[in-house]
């Protein structure tokens, strides 16, 4: 073989490999299986908010109005400075843009978004509360958050004619406050009203959902109009090689389960035990499904009864939803990762966990593929499906 021949072969090989390794988007050609996966991720597949039998006022619009007022009220904190909305800011998808939340003091975890959390059997990064209403009570008595206590909350409601009227229209007459059991009961009702409001906070339709409809309708023109080549390639990676749907599955792009992904500890903090500690706490919580504040008498509590404990959940944290990612940085349980690029690099590397076991494996994605994944993730952003008036403080009624 002469020199020219060798050169031709070499150059052809290089060019062909470059072409082969580039991510060509196959617009319009989605397999049956891929369409099924896309349908499962589509907002149209989101079921109605599950009935919370432990909260008899969960679906009550009057309770939701009351909860709305409570959510935005700083009066639940003795300092009169902290409300739920202080950290769960509607304009940031109900997060606060900080690594760890800051109320009256410094909290130890990243503020989670409450959008769509009504669909999750567990609340918090470690699942230490098993209902939205039980979760709503916890920050009120947390010294780092509201820094309050239930007696104070009950006093505030009793003393304010408007709040008292709202409470009584939902729960009946306010009982005598000299009795611990009554205080606990009123306190649990406060949580239930807040939960009735929080159930309304749901994600809205994004460009991704439009794209899935274009795929299900087998409309390649619309697909190309909605998504760039990179975004399509990113989506294919998301449901394929990048293995994201292992945990980020379902219409909210979360299975609401607990996974250890080997996130590094926060500077100055010990590695966080996550669910291993959280499951112990939820089993002890007097406001849990098995407690006496569950409105469904004789309820079965499958989630509590069959909850997983032990080494498998050591350092494991609840999968957050991927809708509206850009508003919820920094990411992970203590906000350890600042940008989506950091997050994707973290998953690509899949480091060994400091404690527990990282189930993820290294992905071997190229820089181009990581960028495509990121481009796709940005398409999940959308305004909330909740009416505007719920996203700001209630207008005080004329009296």
């Amino acid at each position: 073989m002469n020199k020219t021949g060798i050169w031709v072969i070499l150059v052809t090989t290089v060019v062909l490999s470059a072409i082969a390794s580039h991510q060509w988007p196959r617009v319009g050609s989605w397999t049956e299986a891929e369409r099924a996966v896309l349908r499962s991720l589509w907002l149209g597949s989101l079921p109605d908010v599950p009935v919370d039998t432990s909260n008899s006022v969960a679906g009550d619009p009057v309770a939701a109005e009351f909860g709305h007022a409570l959510f935005f009220s700083t009066r639940l904190s003795p300092s009169n400075a902290i409300a739920c909305v202080t950290c769960h800011r509607p304009e940031l998808n109900f997060t606060d843009g900080m690594q760890k939340g800051r109320g009256v003091g410094q909290s130890q975890r990243n503020t989670m978004s409450i959008v769509g959390s009504a669909h999750s059997p567990w609340q918090y990064w470690d699942g230490r509360r098993d209902s939205q209403w039980a979760q709503a009570l916890s920050p009120i008595e947390d010294p780092a958050e509201h820094g309050g206590h239930r007696e104070h909350v009950v006093e505030v409601i009793a003393a304010d004619s408007d709040l008292r009227a709202r409470y009584e229209s939902v729960f009946g007459e306010l009982p005598a406050m000299d009795n611990e059991a009554n205080v606990d009961r009123v306190f649990s009702n406060v949580g239930k009203a807040i939960a009735a409001y929080e159930r309304l906070i749901q994600p809205g339709r994004s460009r991704f959902d439009d794209f899935v409809e274009a795929v299900l309708d087998e409309d390649p023109h619309r697909q190309r109009a909605l998504y760039s080549n990179d975004e399509i390639a990113g989506l294919r990676l998301f449901i394929g090689k990048a293995q994201c749907t292992q945990c980020h599955n379902g219409p909210l792009l979360t299975n609401n389960e607990f996974h250890n992904t080997g996130v590094l500890s926060f500077p100055g903090d010990l590695p966080d035990k996550g669910r291993a500690a959280g499951v112990r706490e939820v089993l002890r919580d007097p406001f849990n499904c098995a407690g006496r504040f569950n409105d469904a008498a004789g309820a079965t509590c499958d989630e509590l009864e069959f909850a997983r404990t032990g080494f498998e959940v050591l350092g494991a944290f609840r999968t957050p939803s991927l809708r509206n990612l850009s508003n919820t940085q920094p990411y992970m349980h203590k906000g350890q990762l600042f940008t989506l690029t950091d997050v994707l690099e973290h998953y690509n590397e899949a480091p060994l966990a400091m404690i527990g076991h990282n189930e993820a494996k290294p992905l071997g994605l190229t820089a181009q593929e990581l960028a495509q994944l990121e481009a796709f993730l940005e398409t999940l952003a959308a305004p909330l499906a909740t009416a505007e008036r719920w996203l700001s403080a209630p207008v005080p009624e004329e009296r």
Binding site: Q246, C247, F258, S265, L270, P271, K273, E305, R308, L352
Partner: protein, 323 residues
């Protein structure tokens, strides 16, 4: 023959060169694992310096004087239930790597040389302590475990250095060994055989695994003692939903009553278990068992393992499920 001598030479040279992580006292390296021996109780041991080195794991000697996190994972249940304390002292014994408890005990004022002490405490899942070293030097770690009902003293003493530099020439020697071996495999044609054997094995495994349609089928136990048929309350079985199964247990056509069934499971490809702890809660009819608390949180290949004990007759059924 030449290859053998070459490998031997390289290996000998590798062993000779100074290696910073040798076994000292209570912490040893066993087959790639760093193990702390608290008397005979053992824990998997690792140290991190996350601010400077991210996920890098150290066994004893630490390169920098910075925030250091010590992690002990229990390989022994008694350790998980013991009250454990953790002390770090400056090594004033002059014994370095050879310091033992007797030398530490001989230190007149232990508190004066203690740079870190954590009171005895039970840490149920894992023991983690954090200390920020402000200066380099030689230190001794002492871990004491108080096991209830056991009068023996359980203690690990491990000297270590903060501020050593370099990893030695290990990577070079390993590469050289690997290069020699690969060269040999390529030249003798063994590489091809090894490679196709692997593919054949994978293909066979895939064929076996593909034969799974759990719902309708009857599953035979490993030793042939039982047959199990399953019925799911969720049809078809979808992910992220709590549901229950009914298990029909037979032996040669006869329903098996009063058996004890233990159910575990996971995804072998993804190296994790089930997200819940399901349990057989009752026998609703002869040989018919209600299994509650079932949930799957990912699509893919699942293995559900049912251990059966029917009056002393024991066997295991593995149910394959493709979600």
């Amino acid at each position: 023959m030449m290859r053998f001598y070459l490998l031997l030479l390289v290996a000998w040279l590798a062993v000779l060169q100074p290696h910073p992580v040798f076994a000292h006292g209570g912490v040893v390296e066993e087959e790639d694992l760093c193990v702390i021996k608290v008397n005979y109780l053992r824990g998997h041991f690792k140290i991190y310096q996350p601010l400077l080195d991210g996920h890098e794991e150290y066994c004893e000697d630490l390169p920098n004087a910075t925030e250091s996190i010590f992690v002990m994972e229990y390989m022994h249940d008694s350790l998980a239930n013991a009250a454990v304390d953790f002390r770090i002292v400056r090594d004033v014994t002059g014994k370095g790597r050879f310091a033992r408890w007797e030398d530490v005990e001989a230190i007149p004022d232990l508190d004066a040389v203690t740079v870190f002490y954590r009171e005895p405490r039970v840490d149920p899942d894992v023991l983690t302590v954090m200390h920020e070293f402000t200066e380099e030097g030689h230190f001794i770690g002492i871990v004491t475990a108080n096991v209830t009902g056991d009068d023996q003293v359980h203690r690990a003493v491990f000297p270590f250095e903060v501020g050593y530099t370099g990893v030695g020439y290990w990577p070079f020697f390993i590469l050289l060994l690997a290069a020699i071996q690969v060269h040999y495999l390529l030249m003798s044609g063994r590489l091809k055989t090894w490679w196709s054997a692997r593919s054949a094995a994978t293909a066979l495994l895939l064929v076996l695994v593909m034969q799974s349609d759990a719902d309708a089928e009857t599953w035979r136990s490993d030793r042939g003692l039982f047959e199990v048929r399953i019925e799911s309350s969720l049809q078809p079985i979808a992910i992220n939903q709590m549901h229950s199964w009914t298990l029909y247990l037979d032996s040669e056509g006869t329903a098996v009553s009063g058996a004890e069934l233990t159910v575990t499971g996971g995804m072998p490809e993804h190296d994790h278990g089930m997200p819940t702890r399901p349990r057989v809660t009752e026998e609703v009819a002869a040989g018919v068992y209600r299994l509650r608390g079932m949930r799957f949180h990912m699509a893919g290949q699942w293995e559900i393992v049912v251990e059966i004990d029917a009056g002393g007759r024991r066997d295991t059924v593995t149910i394959l499920l493709n979600l």
